[in-house]
């Protein structure tokens, strides 16, 4: 039986975490053992106590590493424990566990990385606000220009990858703008990437890590990170 690890990075998500875990525990896919792992990224709320009291499967980071470092912890865990597939699933209720089986299916069909996209298909009524959509479209075009691959939702944190990429991400995961940066690396390394439509919800609790003021600065930095990744990643690095 193949093993799947769902990586749930959580920074101050105590309000939504329990609901997500209950949802994830219900996920069943034929021929697969599905485990989840909450990464408590040095939360300052009661995320830690919550995990401890409710017998949640979690690891506790003693320093706040940010999203990249937190997710990488999950990949390391998956690598050390020989998981076949790793799936990133945000701890803020944006993602829908019903689509996990679709991601697994796509990995089964030979894709190395599968992205759950809110911008393709019409499954997701929520497509986030205008400015974010514009930013996303820009990054998508930039990646298309640099890699000749069209991916629509380049910042999606709902993704699955196979064993090769678990190993790669365990030791090469960008810390700052991990989703678009790692996507470019994966394409440049020559792995097969696919994107499937999923349903995404509006954040119900907490606030997004991006706001309007930071938005423009974020775009500049992320553009820089993508260009660096596309130049510096070589096939032999694999």
């Amino acid at each position: 039986m193949k093993k799947v690890l769902i990586i749930v990075p959580a920074y101050n998500e105590a309000e939504s975490l329990l609901k997500i875990v209950i949802e994830l525990e219900k996920v069943k896919v034929k021929d697969y053992q599905i485990d989840y792992l909450v990464i408590n990224d040095g939360s300052t709320d009661n995320t830690y106590e919550l995990c401890e009291e409710n017998n949640i499967s979690y690891v506790n980071l003693i320093n706040n590493l940010g999203i990249g470092g937190a997710v990488q912890t999950g990949y390391k865990y998956a690598y050390y424990h020989n998981y076949d597939i790793a799936i990133q699933f945000d701890g803020d209720n944006q993602h829908d566990a019903a689509f996990i089986k679709d991601l697994i299916e796509q990995i089964n069909e030979g894709n190395a990385l599968v992205i759950g996209s809110r911008y393709i298909g019409n499954k997701s009524a929520f497509k986030s606000n205008f400015i974010r959509r514009f930013g996303s479209r820009f990054l998508s075009s930039l990646i298309n220009l640099l890699t000749k691959h069209k991916i629509y939702d380049v910042t999606s944190g709902f993704r699955a990858c196979n064993q090769d990429l678990i190993k790669y991400f365990a030791f090469n995961y960008p810390s700052d703008y991990p989703e678009p940066d790692s996507l470019v690396q994966v394409i440049k390394l020559g792995y097969k990437v696919n994107e499937i439509p999923v349903k995404m919800h509006k954040r119900q609790t907490g606030k997004s890590s991006l706001n309007l003021v930071k938005g423009a600065y974020y775009m500049i930095k992320v553009t820089f990170a993508i260009i660096i990744a596309s130049i510096a990643t070589r096939k032999e690095a694999k």
């Binding site: 990464i39 979690y58 690891v59 506790n60 980071l61 003693i62 320093n63 590493l65 470092g69 990488q72 912890t73 390391k76 865990y77 050390y80 810390s175």
Partner: protein
């Protein structure tokens, strides 16, 4: 360059050099990092000890005043040292990240084993 300025700079470089040496002998800074600071002192003393030679070089490079060249190179060296520090910080950030991750995983494995 006036003899007063030369003497002043030599004294300052000397005191700074002694301070760095003191720190090295007390094992407060790693020798590998002390070298870049030492290079600054050595450059200063070398330049100040040979005023005629220094003047020739600065003239050749197009500096109007010799002291400008000394300050310019001091400034460039400081920029370089600041950059080296950024490199060191980045490396340490990565090391701290992987330490934090490994500790977290180790703790989980220990707990699961119990």
């Amino acid at each position: 360059m006036s003899i007063n300025l030369i003497i002043f700079l030599i004294i300052i470089s000397f005191i700074f050099g002694l301070y760095i040496l003191g720190n090295i002998f007390q094992r407060k800074i790693a020798i590998s990092y002390s070298l870049m600071w030492f290079s600054y002192i050595i450059l200063m003393l070398f330049v100040l000890a040979l005023p005629y030679f220094t003047q020739k070089i600065s003239h050749f490079l197009g500096f109007e005043v010799t002291s400008n060249m000394i300050f310019f190179f001091g400034f460039m060296l400081l920029l370089f040292i600041a950059f080296l520090l950024t490199r060191i910080i980045s490396k340490q950030k990565m090391q701290i990240t992987s330490l934090t991750q490994e500790v977290a995983i180790l703790k989980k494995d220990l707990k699961d084993h119990e």
